[in-house]
Every structure is written in C-alpha cells, then in structure tokens.
Amino acid sequence: MSAAFETRNTVDTLATQKYKYGFETDIAMDEFPKGLNEDIVRLISAKKDEPEWMLAWRLKAYAMWRKMEEPDWARIKHPPIDYENLYYYAAPSGPAPKSLDEVDPELLTMYEKLGIPLNERAALAGVAVDAVFDSVSVATTFRSTLAKSGVIFCPISEAVREHPELVQKYLGSVVPVGDNYFAALNSAVFSDGSFVFIPKGVRCPMELSTYFRINARNTGQFERTLIIAEEGAGVSYLEGCTAPQRDENQLHAAVVELVALDDAKIKYSTVQNWYPGDENGKGGIYNFVTKRGACRGARSKISWTQVETGSAITWKYPSCILQGEGSVGEFYSVALTNNHQQADTGTKMIHLGRNTTSTIISKGISAGHSNNTYRGLVKIMPGASGARNFTQCDSLLIGDQCGAHTVPYIESRNPSAKVEHEATTSKIAEDQLFYCRSRGLSEEDAVGLIVNGFCKDVLKELPMEFAVEAQKLLAVSLEGSVG
C-alpha cells in the first residue's frame, strides 16, 4: 500500500499483479549475530545511543520474556519458531542519515517503486511519511511543517534521545513490558518505529503515515509505535506494510500504544499486506502484533480501522481501554484470507468509565484453504454504568475448503450496560454471481465487487485515498479463489 496512488481502474492490470511488492533491495546492511541474549539487547541499545533507563527497561522485558511461553490459544498452526535462529537487528550500514539528501538513493528508489515518494515535493499532498526499513526509520517527511504546529513526528529511537520525558511517561503505559509473549519480546529488542505527539488543542494538519518494509533475510521486525494526543488534540494515522517474497517464514512482532487525553481523538488505520506466502502455503510473514489504545480522558475517542490481507499468520487484537467518562472505542476490520493463510484477529473493548461506548464491525472473508477467526472481548467493569457496545460480525465464505469462526466473549459486570451482538455467515450467492456475469463482469470481477460491497461499512472508515487502494488489494488478494 502506498501513500501515492494511481487511480487506475482497469481490473485487467490487477489480474496480473499477484504480490507486486515481492522484490528485494540490494543494500549494504549491518547485522548483529543470530540469536537473542542480553548482549544483543545491549548492542541494540548501544547502537541507538540510548540512555541508561531505556536499556534497563529493555533488559527487564528480556528477563520477563525468557520466563514466558508462546501463547497457544489462537486458532493458528505453525511449526515452532526458532528464536535463536533469527537476526534481531538489521539496518543499512553507515551513520544514520540526517536529512533526506543523505538517504541512500537505492532506498529512495525502492520506496518510489512501492509508490511512496519520500521526496517532499513529489509526495502526496497532506500526508507525512515515516519510512521504516527493516529495523530502522530511514526517512520522515514534512517534519518541519509539522513542527510549526507543535506536532512531533519522528523515529521513536530519536524520541528516546530528544524527548525522554514523554517517552518515559508513556512508553509501556498501555502495553506493559510483560503484557504478553510477543509484547515482551518487542520491548526487549525493538529497534525503531514512529513516535507521534500532538499537543493540547492541536488538530494535526496532515495525515501521518508509516510505511514498514521488511527486506533482510531471517530478520525479525519489531517496530514500536507510540502516539499521544493531549487534551482536545486530534490525529489520523495510517500504516502500511510489505515484504519481499521469500520461501522461509519471517517474524514480525510489533507493539502500538495510543494514549488519548480529554476530548482527544486518534484514528489509526492499517492496510496490512505483508507477503502472505505462495498458493501452497510456503513462506510468508508471521504477524504477531499487540495494539492497544487508552482512552484516558473524558470524551476521548480511539478508532481502529484495519484491512488485513497479507501475512501467512495474523495474530492481532487492536483494543481500547475506555477509562475516561463518555469515551468511545471503535474497531472496524476487514480480514481476508486466501490459499493457506490463517488469521485470528479481533478486538478487546474494556469499559471502565461511565457512559463509555464501543462499536465493533468485523468482516471476515475466507477463500481457498484458509482459516479466519474473529475473536473479540467486550468487558464491562462494575464502574461502567450506562456503558454500551454494539458488535456486528459478518463472515463470507468463498468455496468450501475454508473456515470462518466467530469467538465473541462478553463479560458484563454492570447491570445498566447494554451489549448487542449480531453475527452472520454467508456465501456469495450463485444468483449474485450470475447477475453480475450476465452484465459482462468476469467471475473474478464479480467476486471482487461483491466482496467490496460486503466490506463497505469498514472501507468507508478509511481515509479516501487509502480506501481506493484497499479495494484493489481485496480484489488482488482473492485472485485464483474462484472458478
């Protein structure tokens, strides 16, 4: 997914696209030895010039991780991951670039190929981009423009050095270091990611976006994102991801933390298109991600929108902790699996404050031999008088070799709360397909159209230009699933 788009509409070109981001970039890299131990953690920290407190934080996380076990409750299957056979740090060699002019031209070309011009003059108007290549942020655009309104948008490694008071206050405050196996691992070895701070009363003047790219072989990617919106602040943030096509599986374990104070609004959109593996299930990214937002302030709002089409395995539950009175959590999700992909995804809405509301709209599409599970928790705590939740969970099956599963957990400890849950499972009807085809649409185009219609309630939540890209992505990802 790109930050710049051609609005081509010919589905013809789509039909031949397959995974178009599967190329490799040849660039000189620094890598640490394989495997994970305290020394590696220290090396990463040293490489980043981190202060002592940051290293101590990482070491604590590392010690906790060592004592933890990989979770096994999700409906996914994979051979054991050999954590000692991974590289935990890979970065373009040489000193970090200070400005865009210093970025390796080979890298700029690669991002251009992905449709993300990092050159500010060529960039999509109104979108600032942070580009993360393997473990490091290689370029962040429009920083000075943003700085004028007091917005900080920079690599998190830089924030650790330049804004330690903010990082120390908020890092790990939403996802504690020992929250879960993958979050602990990330806390120990994260090497970069994006940091966003929107000060009191400021609406961020542009869309912010981070573009993640895994390139190096056998390398885990562990990025960390932290977004803080102070009182009355607002921001819309988008992340996109791709990786080269490789036969072996690669691990991606990210952590995203959002904090919204009184009346703040954060909209976080993801278009996830990591390499999904080939049609026989060989290769692909293992995507184990912890995303959580804290609505700390009254009337604050956090909205997650995700379109998940990539990865061999997706394990991810973007959640909201609704603490502030009258705060609002939203989760809009499209998860599409094809071939041998497995997705176990959903959300958690934890209602703590009075009159908190949450909305969950999940659309799962399964094709091929894939498995797609929605797993959601709505928890109403005793203090959450007047809390309300609405959940709508729809599954669409294409073919009869795939599976769709819905696992909703509802826990209400306040009698005044109202929780509504609706779920449907359907197949694309033969008469719908025939109706479209009798009008001249090919079977694949007909399926694409019907699937996009099925996802409309979620896609309309995406920023306009990304919605167009997401629609195309859905059509491409379904290729070969019919006929």
Partner: protein, 247 residues
C-alpha cells in the same frame, strides 16, 4: 439474428425445455407467452448461460455464433442482455459503480474505449431522465430496498446503458404501475433499430399495446406450440391457454 433449433435443457434430471424452435431476425421484437411453469424463464437463463441448466440437445446461435459454448460474460459482450424476472440485490455495491463496471467490461471486450466516472454519470443521468427515474437510483445499492417496480426500471436502465443487440425481457412488466409500464415500453421502443432484436416474455396483452411485437409465440410444457402475429396475444387474452398444446 437469434436462431434456436430443437433446444432441450434440463435442471438436474428434470427436463424443462423439450425442443424449442425459434428464430428472431434482427430488427424484430418477438413476444413469448405461456402458462406458469412452461419454461419461459428457463429459456432466458439457458440463452444467457446460467449454471445448473444442462443443454441436452439442439443449438442456439446469435449472429451465427454458438452462444451455448460461451460464458455468461462473453454472451454479454456479444450483445445479449437479460432483464431478470427477479432482479438480484447486491448489498454494499453502489448502482452507479455496478453499471459502470459492467459497461466498461463490455466495452473492453468489444475493443471500445472505457468511460471515466464523469462521462458515465453524464450518460447515466440522461438515461434516467428518459426513463423518468430519480437521480438517487444511481447512489443506492444495487436493487437493495428497491420496490418491485423500481427493480424492473433498474433493469431497463441497465439495458438502455449497455445497448444490447438482443434483449431478453423476462416479465419486465410485472409489478409495474400504468405510468411505469409506459416508461419501460418507451425504453424498449427507443432501442428499436435494424440491428436490435428482443424477446419479450409477458403474461399480459397490455404490455404489447405499447411494445407492438412482430411475432407472438406460445411456450407450453417446454415447446413453442403456436406462433402468430400480434393478434394472437389478443386471442390468448380472450380465451386463455386451454387447448394450446393441441394446436
């Protein structure tokens, strides 16, 4: 020209069409009438390529091409259009987007230039006006929440925009009020040309007051049992289908 010769078709092991013979030359409009369950819709589906219908004998060609070998979309590209007896709902799919996608798919297959969104809207609005349909018909989801009559008008809108060479209208008049009947008929008549032909399936003479057919055929128990001029429809209206099989 549409040429159907001794066409038989079944659903599962149930034989529905039992040797249909029918020729519709270009420039002509033919009406098909016949009792419920006679196989009229089945004939329209077989001609447009719906799955589940097995052709067990005979042939059907359009402009000399064996259409039975083509996919439904290839038949659409060849100029065949079916207005459904029961139009299908497509939740979440905008009507304008749907029709434009269809139109461009057909144009592409015919080697014509595609229409961008602006050009399409201009064209579609003009057709809506001809059909006295409100603009919001384009914004709504395909047939979702449409009244019976609106669905039928939406079929005619699609036909008007796709400009088929052969239109098969399956009971497009059912469920229409008197004004709508006139509008829909005008829509069909507007397409009349030496290159256009139509098969109009109907139960009612009143449609044929507006769309005057060149020929009227009676389909009964899977076969054309009688053919005649427009006056045949009047006779059927007066006497019903009783005894038609024997004719």
């Amino acid at each position: 020209m549409l040429e159907i010769k001794n066409l038989s078709a079944s659903i599962g092991d149930k034989e529905i069409l039992r040797g249909v013979d029918l020729t519709v030359p270009d420039g002509e409009i033919h009406a098909i009438m016949g009792p419920n369950g006679a196989g009229k819709s089945t004939l329209s589906y077989v001609l447009s390529g719906r799955e589940g219908y097995e052709v067990t004998g005979g042939s059907a060609t359009y402009n000399g091409e064996n259409i039975l070998a083509l996919t439904p979309e290839a038949r659409a590209a060849a100029g065949i259009f079916l207005a459904f007896q029961y139009p299908v709902e497509l939740p979440g799919v905008g009507n304008a987007n749907f029709i434009r996608t269809a139109l461009n798919a057909v144009k592409r297959a015919r080697g014509e230039a595609e229409l961008d969104a602006v050009a399409f809207l201009k064209l579609a609005r003009a057709e809506l006006k001809n059909l006295s349909m409100p603009d919001d018909m384009l914004k709504r989801n395909v047939n979702v929440g449409f009244s019976g009559g609106e669905k039928k008008r939406n079929e005619v809108l699609q036909m008007a925009l796709l400009r088929p060479g052969l239109a098969i209208l399956d009971e497009t008049d059912s469920g229409l009020d008197i004004d709508a009947l006139k509008i829909v008929s005008d829509g069909v008549n507007a397409l009349r040309s030496p290159k256009f032909s139509a098969l109009v399936i109907t139960h009612y003479q009143r449609l044929l007051d507006h769309i005057v057919p060149d020929r009227v055929h009676v389909l009964s128990a899977g076969r054309i049992v009688r053919s005649g001029g427009p006056e045949l429809a009047l006779e059927l209206e007066a006497h019903g289908y009783v005894g038609q099989e024997a004719a």
